[in-house]
Symmetry: C2
Subunit: 650 residues, 2 copies
């Protein structure tokens, strides 16, 4: 008889997606087991691109500084074309990430480091049981208890695979990339020798050939081409002038894309003629790929003293259209989207999948949110997966030289390709992802009007007044600008007051609170929020018992009055909470004002488009805007909150 | 017979001064022993202020980010006065550190953390043998070998003091502060039971009651007053509005100064009536000090749930006027200057002493500099110690309320006090320290003229043309501004390309190198510097053998031509050095140009006052400007270098 244990959340796969989910569970104190077949984390190769939003997310777990310092920042992108006489010509050098979108910009750091830092984070916090060299062998679901979220309807057999031959060479994987289609070996025949785990929730973060996905009878849909590309990590010995920029060369013999990396490495993608692809598949010899790179980069010299890693892939874009089942089982990362690695999105979208999912599951486990909100995972993330696939198709179409061989302009960058490259580093990277109205994202008034709803409708209170901050998007992550602490003038970025703890945040943009009208409105709002019968007070009281001191909804004030004209102790008490051991919490009131020592500060109200009446914004634990209203609309705020939290918590 | 070992450098005292010296030795690969009586590093209390220059220095060892992130940044200072009717009135709130002096500004972090990080650095690099619970018991100097720097003329007996009672309570010490005058116990009677160490160089970093200083028959000179001050680290429970700013209150019952700290702590200095001082000395009870603080802060409430540390001191400023002997034995830190802790300078000046000394000793040990240059330690650091004492006297004079009791304006801040406070955070912190001409700092033309020298004099080549960069000061540390990498547009601060490795750096400010004239001058300079018979080439060849790959003199180019108009591979080869394993070094050419993503960039030439002809600047390993000349003056540069390096190295 196998050992039987219960865990709230079982995560299959300890890659970036699985570890990001585990980070939430570790932070929010949810009993979790994460299993992975491999004996250790990725050592080299695989994914390397970190988009701005991913860096913001890592920073929300306190990992931003470390990753940012170690990563190579990809500031510029150079586009090169082959000329009729066999030379190469530089067509343009531009910013690789659009300035102003984020305080971070696109960077590269190996997946190995990202996994290492996330695993350190998870282990430091406890709560998560990490089982390596462990694989699931069977999945059972007890549908009788599927709607009772106190029960454990999921049962997995886990097996120790220490002595089992690896079913594939992990060095051949690239995030986002399914290198073997669905041809992996059958995993049956190993069952019944290990542990049995009963779980409330199951996450399949187990890659392109996801075992979990297969158990559910789901598959990736989409097309593959026969175009093959080589991938290399090398230290280049070259006279090519843009080797430390990201660059794309469309040469007559094929396309090369290169991305500078940390430790003097570069990542290379090179288009391969089919006979070269065959040669490489047979020999696994990276020098064959290097020869192709050299050809494309001629007349520049391109050699290497060190091939750190190489692989090959065929272009294909496939997506799984069912990513959440019964609010109990979820798929994320490569298990639901595979594509070419050229857009550098694989590791990013994968981590962003579980960054979206993790706090939701943890909040349901902790009784802070209704189980129904888990539906929003599929609603929010499937469109992102689909858009990723579409973007990758456009980038691949632009990249593939042979597709254009019959055209005269084979080596030009067409406008759609250039637009796709630009989107890759602005909107596509997660910064401009907007989740549509759902249980966790309120509608705006125009959306309600178009849906035939009006103020007398019972849902009428549950909407946002987007016009109060026209440059903020309901459903999108809140942009970050420099703000100053009221009490000590230290600067921080808005997002830094929104760490990933599982807490929601109400940000009151009080505008000029030195003006009598605004002072009155602020005082009235504070009084409403501070009443013992206020929903936020009740939620926080409940959370204090169940969530190790984290509040359920934090309250912050960001005003734009002259800072030295405002005395913290004149403000309502709710903005200077007190404990008998630590006195006043001085980190609740912030100012939009120019900083002493840094450029920036004093630009937030203008950037968000917030007017003299101010507004208040409710942010989800993932920094996405959930609700935006007038400072007087406490009823609307409470209506929204009570619609998503279980009755027993308020 | 005791064990006998040889070490190049023996450091007595593992506080901030001793550890900074050890950091240089660890980094530059010098065999070193550091001994300290205490079983572990400082745990709480003592020093806490980190000035801008100290943060720059820590950053040059790669510790800046960590310390900066953890420290509390003291942005503002508030001055308060008692009023005739017994209330307190805020007189001003201003910036605590003058913006623009440094990329860092004054911060606080406990000495405990600073020691911890420096010790980690030392241990990570090896070369340094750390002996805790070890004290020297006798010192012998063999004067017969004192001028032969290959010999070990210093002999110390070291004793294991594990079981020896501590001669004083270390919790009573504040950096910079001699709490017990010279009344410490006699250390004799412990000799002869342990190791004998023979050393080339001895550093006494052993605090106000320095054992090393006493062996040399040297003493601190200066005066003490009977004024007593209490010192506390607490978590405050208060309604005082400026508690998270640095503040000074001159109340009728005495002065209080408070500095916000990390972890919600504040550091308090409070002036004590003599009977209160007596009470505290008898009881060691911090609540007695708190009562005095409460009195001074009335009518605001001021309580605490947690007194982390407390001590008392009497004001005194004393200095040792001999800080280097025979170019063999050196004193640093509290061993040569004791003063009040109010200026927050103690830990800073102490670390800056050995930051000045460490690379010099290491370079002499490695044969890279002549032993005579060790004279510059006394020449450069004694004036700093003297100025520190003078500043502290001014600050103490301003702080002491009782001195003014007979005056009507007892509770006002006089102008000299305010000026002293401002200097504390700008010039006094090390940023504006200018070392006068000596073996390692060239004279300027006007200085030479006033000394009656002219161009025909044999020393004539050994001077700097300060007018080529009028805002750079010969002998001062080079200011830091944002620059861009030529090859990848990544930004960094100028000082970040000058890490503390022991390497000198020649920075060529080539100005607009796209202009034909400047291109020609750059090319000619590069040719001169690149010749096999060039002094820099010879020094670097020598260093390659003796110094683990660090160059003796690094060569960097910072130009102000349009970056994308310059191709790295068109520049002289000296600016793109090549190795067969790693290809081109892309970190030698930098541009003064606006950055894509950050404010800043493009302001360096203007800020330094460098004109169209450009200039070149030779920086010492401690970032201080040693030599500044026209780009054509390679002869002057070589003359200077050959004057300080031993003949066998070129």
């Amino acid at each position: 008889m196998a050992n039987r244990v219960q865990t709230d959340v079982l995560i299959v796969g300890a890659g970036p997606a699985g570890l990001m989910a585990a980070a939430w569970m570790a932070q929010m104190g949810v009993r979790t087991t994460i299993v992975d077949q491999k004996p250790y984390h990725t050592r080299c190769g695989r994914a390397d691109g970190l988009e701005s939003r991913t860096l913001e997310i890592l920073d929300s777990f306190g990992l931003g500084d470390k990753v940012w310092a170690e990563a190579n920042h990809t500031v510029e992108i150079a586009l090169w074309c082959g000329t009729a006489d066999g030379h190469l010509r530089r067509q343009s050098v531009t910013a690789n990430s659009k300035p102003g979108w984020s305080r971070f910009h696109e960077s590269t750091l190996s997946q190995a480091k990202v996994e290492e830092y996330l695993m350190e984070y998870v282990k430091d916090r406890g709560n998560v049981d990490v089982k390596r060299e462990t694989a699931p062998t069977s999945l059972e679901i007890d549908y009788d208890m599927i709607d009772d979220h106190d029960k454990y309807p999921i049962r997995l057999d886990l097996e120790d695979v220490t002595s089992r031959p690896m079913s594939h060479d992990s060095s051949m994987e690239v995030a986002g990339l399914d290198t073997s289609a669905d041809s992996s070996s059958d995993d049956s025949g190993y069952a019944g020798l290990g542990h049995v785990v009963e779980a409330k929730y199951l996450l399949g973060c187990d890659g392109a050939r996801s075992w979990v996905r297969k158990q559910l009878g789901l598959r990736l849909e989409g097309e593959s081409s026969s175009d093959s590309w080589g991938v290399l990590d090398i230290i280049p010995l070259t006279d090519f002038p843009d080797i430390r920029k990201r660059f794309i060369i469309k040469a007559s013999c094929g396309t090369v894309m290169m991305i500078p990396r940390e430790r003097k490495l570069v990542r290379i993608y090179v288009e391969l003629p089919s006979h070269v692809a065959t040669q490489y598949r047979e020999s696994q010899d990276g020098t064959i790929l290097m020869e192709q790179v050299q050809k494309a980069m001629h007349p520049y010299t391109m050699k290497t003293s060190h091939i750190e890693w190489s692989t090959i892939y065929t272009v294909g874009q496939r997506v799984c259209r069912k990513i959440g089942l019964h609010n109990r089982i979820f798929l994320a990362g490569d298990a639901i989207h595979t594509h070419s690695p050229k857009a550098g999105q694989g590791m990013n979208v994968s981590m962003q999948d579980t960054f979206n999912l993790g706090w939701k599951i943890a909040s349901v486990v902790k009784g802070a949110l209704k189980p129904q909100i888990l539906e929003t995972y599929q609603q929010e993330r499937l469109p992102v997966a689909e858009r990723l696939i579409a973007l990758d198709q456009r980038i691949c179409r632009g990249m593939c030289s042979r597709k254009d061989e019959h055209k005269s302009n084979y080596s030009r960058f067409d406008d759609d390709h250039k637009r796709a490259l630009e989107e890759e580093n602005s909107s596509a990277s997660g910064l401009a992802v907007v989740y549509h109205p759902n249980l966790l994202v309120t509608s705006t008034a125009p959306e309600m009007a178009s849906a035939g709803l009006n103020n007398e409708n019972e849902l009428a209170l549950n909407h946002s007044q987007a016009s109060l901050a026209p440059n903020l998007k309901i459903g999108a992550r809140i942009p970050s600008l420099l703000i100053l602490n009221q009490s000590d003038a230290q600067t921080c970025h808005l997002q830094q007051i929104l760490p990933s703890t599982g807490q929601w945040n109400l940000i009151i943009f009080g505008a000029d609170i030195a003006a009598p009208d605004q002072a009155r409105r602020l005082s009235s709002l504070a009084e409403m929020l501070g009443r013992p019968e206020s929903v936020i007070q009740k939620l926080n009281n409940h959370a204090a018992v169940t969530r190790r001191g984290f509040e359920s909804v934090g309250i912050n004030l960001i005003h734009c009055a002259e800072r030295l004209g405002i005395e913290l102790h004149d403000l309502p008490a709710i903005f200077r909470p007190w404990t008998d051991t630590h006195g006043v919490d001085y980190n609740k009131v912030w100012v939009d004002e120019a900083a002493y020592h840094y450029a920036g500060g004093g630009e937030l109200y203008k950037s968000f488009g917030i007017g003299a009446r101010g507004c208040m914004v409710l942010l989800r634990p993932d920094q996405h805007v959930s609700f935006l209203s007038d400072m007087d609309d406490v009823a609307g705020l409470e209506q929204f909150l009570t619609s998503i939290v279980p009755e027993q918590t308020y």
